[in-house]
Every structure is written in C-alpha cells, then in structure tokens.
C-alpha cells in the first residue's frame, strides 16, 4: 500500500527530518509509527498525504509514484486517504454533521447518501446523538472522535493518524485505538503516529520506530516477506 524508497527530507534551513528511510506497509495492515518528538513521524505522514514533498527518494501509494504527481492531481490522491490530526482541525462555524459531511460534499455525493453515510460514521464513533451540536461544545475526546468520523466517512483505503490520543486520558486512548483496530478489520490500511509506547504494546500491532530521521526498528520486516526484498 505504502512503499518508501530511500526517502530523505531536508527542510529549508538545512534540518534533516528524514534520511534514507525505506519501508513497506502492506495493504490491509495496521502499524504504529513511534519515536520521540522530532524523530520525523509527522514528516513521514505529511509526505504520504502530499503535504510535503521528499528531497530525495520515491514514495509509492497503491502503486502510484507520488514523487511525480502534479499539484493539480493532489486532491484526487487525498480523496483516498483519511487523515486524523492531534488537534482535530474541526470547523467551529458549522455543526458536527456538516463537519463530518465535508469529504462527501467535496466528492459530489447525493444528499440522501450523505445523510446515510454521515450517520453511519457518527454511529461508529458513538456520537450519533451529537450530530446537531457545535463541535466547540464537545469534550476533547468527543471532538477527536468527530475528526475520526470525518476521516472515515468516505471509506478511504488508507487512514493516517498523527498522535490521535495525544490529549486524551488512558481509557479514552484505548477506546480510540480500538476504533482504529475495528476499521482495520474491515480492510482499511492504518498508519498511526504515536509516542504512547505502553498503549502500543498493549494492542499488539507492529510498529516502525524512528530516531532522528532514520528507522531504528521495523516490526514489518519480520511480517512481510516482500518488504525484506526492498
């Protein structure tokens, strides 16, 4: 699903966020991306979502080489990805329902289909009764779940999450991680950046750990015979 081929990313000013990173995340796999802050987790996710472009190397997403993608094709790529942020990125000028509906509106779904899918997504994160609320009236955990509903409402093939449990207490964090495991069960590929090592160990999913921009340890290598060849 995602293949990194000798990826380096140097930010203007000379800071090397990633150097010579290679890995392969197979379709339908859930994996964690771990490391201290500044290790390059966010940069790696941004490269996949085409928010940043690599300085060197090649990235393949579902067989498409992202390094050659023209800017005008970026929206098409992003429609297949669901992105979840630590700070939710919810819009407070509209209701929960309208926040979650955004990806469907952008892709031109019919009104009835939007209603159905938004309710289904809110139901999955347990917030069906809050659809008319303004996101600002919700708790931190609830807002994070609205953000997750928005990321899955259009049934993306890939789900990226950047510190989705960053502000949450351990119980809520476990709940959120369980949600991701459930999406993964239905076939979605999931990559979650997190520094919460205890929680990751509890879930038992493989992880890639980054340290100062390079891969320190990769559980996927022992899982995936294809990746070993890279």
């Amino acid at each position: 699903m995602i293949r990194f081929d000798n990826i380096s990313k140097r930010y203007p000013g000379g800071f090397d966020a990633l150097s010579r990173v290679s890995f392969h995340l197979p379709r339908g796999q859930l994996a964690y991306l771990t490391g201290h802050s500044g290790a390059g987790k966010s940069t790696l996710l941004k490269l996949i979502a085409l928010i940043e472009r690599p300085t060197r190397g090649q990235i393949f997403l579902d067989g498409v080489n992202l390094t050659n993608i023209r800017n005008r094709r970026i929206p098409q790529i992003r429609r297949h990805i669901g992105i979840i942020f630590q700070n939710h990125h919810l819009l407070y000028d509209r209701r929960v329902f309208d926040n979650v509906a955004m990806p469907l509106v952008i892709q031109g779904y019919r009104h009835r289909e939007i209603n159905k899918r938004v309710r289904a997504a809110l139901d999955q994160v347990g917030l069906l009764n809050k659809e008319k609320a303004n996101p600002i009236t919700l708790s931190g955990g609830e807002q994070q779940r609205v953000g997750i509903a928005r990321a899955i409402v259009h049934k993306p093939t890939l789900l990226l999450a950047d510190e989705p449990t960053g502000n949450l207490d351990p119980d809520l964090s476990r709940e959120i991680m369980a949600l991701f495991a459930r999406f993964n069960m239905f076939g979605t590929t999931v990559l979650i950046a997190s520094h919460d090592l205890d929680l990751i160990r509890q879930t038992g999913f493989p992880s890639i750990s980054l340290n100062k921009g390079t891969i320190e340890h990769n559980d996927l290598l022992t899982l995936d015979p294809l990746a070993r060849a890279v």
Partner: protein, 322 residues
C-alpha cells in the same frame, strides 16, 4: 475542465454524475455566498456602497455629458453660412445663384438679403444710424444666407460646405460663425475623454476594493480552506464561494449605483425644468436607459468577478495545509 482520473473509484449510483454535481455545487455556492454576505449585513452594505459610489461617479458624468450633447444638438439647428457676394454682382445674378444653391442636396434653405435691405438692418442694429445717412453710396454687398441640412451640421461637414461655397465665382467671402460650435464640440470631446479616464481609474479602484475584501474573506476562512484541501477539495471547489462572493458584491454595487443615480436625477429634475422654462425650452433630463443600466450591471459584475479572481489567484495558493 477536470481530467478523467485513473485512480478514481468507479462511480456508483450513490454519486451524482460529474456534470450534475458540478452544476449543483455552482448553484449551492451561488446561494451560500449570498447567505454568507447577508449574515454580515453591515460590512456587506459598506463594501457595496463604496463600489456603488465609485461606479455612480463615472456613470453620472456620462449622463451629464449625454444631456449636454443633446442640448448642443438643439443649438446646432441655427447654423447659418453667410455668403458675401462681390460688389459688382447684380441682384439678378445673386438670385440666380440662390436658386441654384436651393437645389443642392446639402442645403436646407437659402435667402437673399439685398444691399439696401442689409443697410437698413445694419442701421437699425448697429446704432450708427445717423452716421450711415452721410455715406454717398451703399458699401454693402448682396448677401445670401445658407442653412445646411441637419446631417450636414457636424463641424467637419459644415467646414467642407463652406469651402465649396467659397469657391463660387460670385462669392467674395463665405463666413460661418461657428467657432463656438467647434469649441463646444471640442469641449465635449475633452469631457468625454475625461469621463473615460475617471471611469477607468474608478473601475480599477472597484477591482482593488473587491480584491481586498475577498482577500480578507480568504484570511478569515483560512482554517476551512486548509481542511478542505486536506480532504481532497480541488482548487476550483475552494475558489467557487469566493468568486461568487465577488459576483454578488458586483451585482449589489451596480444596483446601488443605479439607485444613487436615480435619486440624484430625481433631485435635479425640478430645477432643470424650471431652468428650461426660463429659456422657453421643453428640455428634460434623461437618465440611464435600460441598455445603459444593463451595461452598468454587467460592468460591475465583471469587476466583481475580476477582483475576486485576482485575490483568489494570488492568495489561495498561499494557504497550504502544514
């Protein structure tokens, strides 16, 4: 136009066809942007008023000029050419020339003032009555006055006619006191150019006002733009609400400008009529015709769209998710 995409999933029945969804979104944004503007009535009204004033000024000048040139057209009817004949020309020769000129297609009317008649007139008007009594003989020649037909009364055409008449054998001098007509036309021409310059500058101002307003809108909705880009909104999708907002500014500014002009004309109408009565004229002010109104609205729409296009082009690409 969007290209067909290889990686796009197969369209299911749950999605609208591309054209339908494109048109639906346009319609939605047309209405949504109007809603956005009406939710902040004070600032919308202020922006529209600035646009309206900037548009009403050149449009008002245009109307003033239009009215002025209609007045001067009325005055043109009195253009007369005087042909002073050579002293030795007899009255019979003068009449022959006059009847020949009457047949010319360029000439509306011809009349003869013979030298005795001319002297009497001169005595009466000039106030030299007594002095002229002492003259031995009449120094005046016969005079033929020629009134050109109406479509010959443009200054350039009249000058051409005067030259032709001057070349007649019997004519000593063909004179046209039309310096003032020429001056008036030159003045109107100058004023017209002035209106064009002022109009262009103010149109530019409208473009910049709308551009700046849209720029602020873009800044205010920065977060929504970032999120939209992150979940795969195309540039066109993000642009649309801002372009329609600019269009609405243009429409409301144009309509408000029309209102300003109508009110101003209403205020001026009575005094103008009183003035016309004093001059024994039935002159009436004319306002904007429906085609003028249509072009006013069209121009303001174009400026609205143009201004927002400029702002969107410059500032939307600055906002990228990070």
């Amino acid at each position: 136009m969007r290209k067909k995409n290889r990686t796009a999933p197969r369209k299911g029945p749950q999605k609208k066809s591309r054209l339908v969804s494109y048109l639906t979104h346009h319609l939605q944004m047309l209405i949504a942007s109007l809603g956005y503007l009406t939710r902040q009535p004070v600032s919308t009204l202020m922006t529209s008023a600035v646009i309206a004033i900037a548009l009403a000024l050149p449009a008002g000048l245009y109307i003033a000029l239009d009215n002025a040139s209609r007045i001067s057209a009325d005055w043109d009817g009195s253009t007369l050419i005087s042909l002073f004949l050579k002293p030795e020309v007899s009255i019979q020769q003068a009449e022959k020339l006059a009847s020949r000129l009457r047949k010319s297609a360029e000439i509306e009317a011809v009349s003869i003032i013979d030298r005795d008649q001319g002297l009497k007139q001169f005595q009466k008007i000039s106030g030299f009555g007594d002095a002229i009594e002492f003259l031995d003989d009449n120094p005046l020649p016969h005079v033929i006055t020629v009134q050109p037909v109406v479509d010959q009364q443009r200054p350039d055409k009249v000058v051409h006619l005067v030259k032709k008449l001057q070349s007649e054998n019997l004519v000593e001098l063909a004179q046209l006191d039309m310096q003032w007509v020429k001056r008036l036309y030159t003045l109107l021409d100058l004023a017209q150019r002035g209106v064009w310059i002022v109009g262009s500058l103010l149109a530019l101002a409208v473009l910049l006002i709308i551009g700046n307003t849209i720029r602020l809108d873009i800044q205010n909705r920065r977060e929504a733009i970032e999120v939209s880009k992150l979940i795969g909104a195309s540039d066109g999708f993000i642009r649309r609400p801002f372009l329609y907002t600019g269009l609405w500014y243009g429409i409301s500014g144009g309509l408000l400008a029309w209102l300003l002009i109508a009110v101003s004309l209403g205020i001026l109408e009575n005094p103008v009529q009183e003035l016309a009565v004093l001059y024994h004229s039935s002159y009436e002010l004319t306002g904007l015709s429906s085609s003028d109104l249509a072009s006013l609205i069209l121009i303001s729409c174009a400026l609205g769209l143009g201004g927002s296009w400029l702002a969107v082009g410059r500032h939307l690409s600055d906002i990228e998710p990070s």
